[in-house]
Subunit: 416 residues, 2 copies
Amino acid sequence: MKSELIRAREAAKIARTVSESQKNEALFAMGEQILCSTDAILTANAKDVEAAKKRVETTTRIDRLLLNEHRIQMMVDGLHEIMALPDPIGEVIEIWTRPNGLRIEQVRVPFGVVGIIYEARPNVTVDTSALTVKTGNAVVLRGGKEAFETNIALTVALRKALHDVLLPSDLVVMVTDTDRRSVDDLIRARGLVDLVIPRGGAGLISHVVENATVPVIETGVGNCHVYIDSHANLAMALDIIVNAKTDRPSVCNAAETLLIHSAVAPSFVPIAAEKLTKLGVELRLDAKANHLLENESIIAKQATEEDFATEFLAPILAVKVVESLDEAIDHIGHYGTGHSEAIVTDENEVAKEFLQRIDAAAVYHNASTRFTDGYEFGFGAELGISTQKLHARGPMGLRELTSYKYVIRGNGHIRR
Amino acid sequence: MKSELIRAREAAKIARTVSESQKNEALFAMGEQILCSTDAILTANAKDVEAAKKRVETTTRIDRLLLNEHRIQMMVDGLHEIMALPDPIGEVIEIWTRPNGLRIEQVRVPFGVVGIIYEARPNVTVDTSALTVKTGNAVVLRGGKEAFETNIALTVALRKALHDVLLPSDLVVMVTDTDRRSVDDLIRARGLVDLVIPRGGAGLISHVVENATVPVIETGVGNCHVYIDSHANLAMALDIIVNAKTDRPSVCNAAETLLIHSAVAPSFVPIAAEKLTKLGVELRLDAKANHLLENESIIAKQATEEDFATEFLAPILAVKVVESLDEAIDHIGHYGTGHSEAIVTDENEVAKEFLQRIDAAAVYHNASTRFTDGYEFGFGAELGISTQKLHARGPMGLRELTSYKYVIRGNGHIRR
């Protein structure tokens, strides 16, 4: 493992000074090479899928793993999209001259070596390689063993493309050791790895955070709320909660809890409950909300404390009636994961207070939480959504894969 | 310990929305209260100093601990300087409107709760409390046991001042438990503490980095180099290496190794060696440099591999003759700690290559490494110098104590 990291480190030294056009040439070559290698990639993928079927994995998990010509083309399209994005490296973030004449430039630079730890989706192999190459970083890929054969075939293609355009193939290095120890070796390789990003389930992320000594950007868990204020447009509120819950329940920016002010709960809860249950959403109601549905024919469960703390990632919604904005903010402060939180209200002052007091990566006024996404934000790419506050918060694009340095020019300046 | 962190967390919720003028009022009150409490602070400090003397600590260590009226006034002056700095909180970093009409603002916000782990200097207690209050954060102070009594007296004054201006006194919380376990409790308090900054020696920093699960900003170790190129102005080069080594040898931005191109080594090494040894610097020379001093009356040791890897923090300088820019860059890549690195050359193309290829927080052309400092950079305050690449690199001022969030305003926007 160490020798692989050293190779990536050497490659990163070269990548630091590679021009934008060279990096784009590499991305294009990576796409061409993937297309040329379609047969080899599909053959490798068939082995992984076969093995998954033998292990009697769920169809969802097998689908996550599966590649076909269309999905391969989508990966290549993704490479072309990243080619079209501006290169952040070398950007002068700030420049100033000190009274003593020293000129200080803050310049955007690559991190160096970025480790990515992920699970079954093979497209992550290609996406993250493209993002790191574009930002002048080397990447160490440690994918899940379910996609082992596929990842090997993809990495071989990516490395060949880099070699063909005269860049170090070690800009993309795959860890072929798939036991847990290889994760630990990677996340503890201080001095060799500059940053680790875990992409996957809560278990993987907490293992990395607990054990890493290399800096980590934590991605993901989203226990998101939509709060309907007493002065909300209820038609808008209904659209937003329906969208936030049902558009794609399995993703981190989907809503998990509806908070509703008691002043509008009697008119809103029955309508919302009817609509949501029709759409297949299972409701978990607190006592007050439950009471409002007593005379309705809607079947709903009682919410437990645990329901409010859970990221369901499924068509399930917890519902709670609150007496005030303060109660809503306190509830979110207690159960939220700092991902995405929305208020629906016509009162700008109430919205302002919510937006300021809620401590989350993305706070919304009169919009669905579903917009927390690199593409929806206009970043053109996404490497995940950070739920920590250090370095990157919210959707991470190319810029979030960079650091900076200070370049100082003098004329014999010494400090007195 | 946990209850203290919860109190800080609650205070941080309030601090998030406090105005700039209120925060400045608090800083002013903190200064007044420290002046009012001078007697109590000096009495407490005398106990710490007494105890240090009983332990037969070195005079340097005792001096680091010692307060007097002048030093207390300097702390208060520091508070006034931080008052005068602009408040970074609420700054709109970027704002844009998406094609669908969603308006996205990236707004600077406080971290929340910041933990500071430090050693003997009591001024850190006041400085960091001021920086965190100004940036709307709550701080948890875990100082060294050498300054325990002094830190209690200072914290009592700071907390009283906060209370007097109607802010939560828990914006400044001191951990009164001084065993190592309290450090571990603090650095593993995920969900309660947003960021930990260790300020102190290499042992403390590596303990924190190894064991923290809370995000860390690593400060400090500086094995800095000055490289004299074959086309350098040698008079300028001499000024710079003398300044970088002797201005203040005990700090992290002091130079530890002189690298010199073989083309100018014969004329430069003897002159530099004479000047530096006269100034009390002990030289550790590689074989080539040693050879150049054979006929001189200068006493110097042979450099070992370890010398090149050491941050002496003392009037000791390792010297190595290199054959090329590449060799200098490789040496720095191998032994450097990513802090501050300088080149002296009249060739702009050579300088450009050095500045681009060297991977450090601050890279200098024709200037001393000693300028890597928040005040010298014009930040008006400094919380340490980061040697990591995540979030903050180089001198950290107020802005580096902030995170950001996205505030998104819609008009019933849902994702389709």
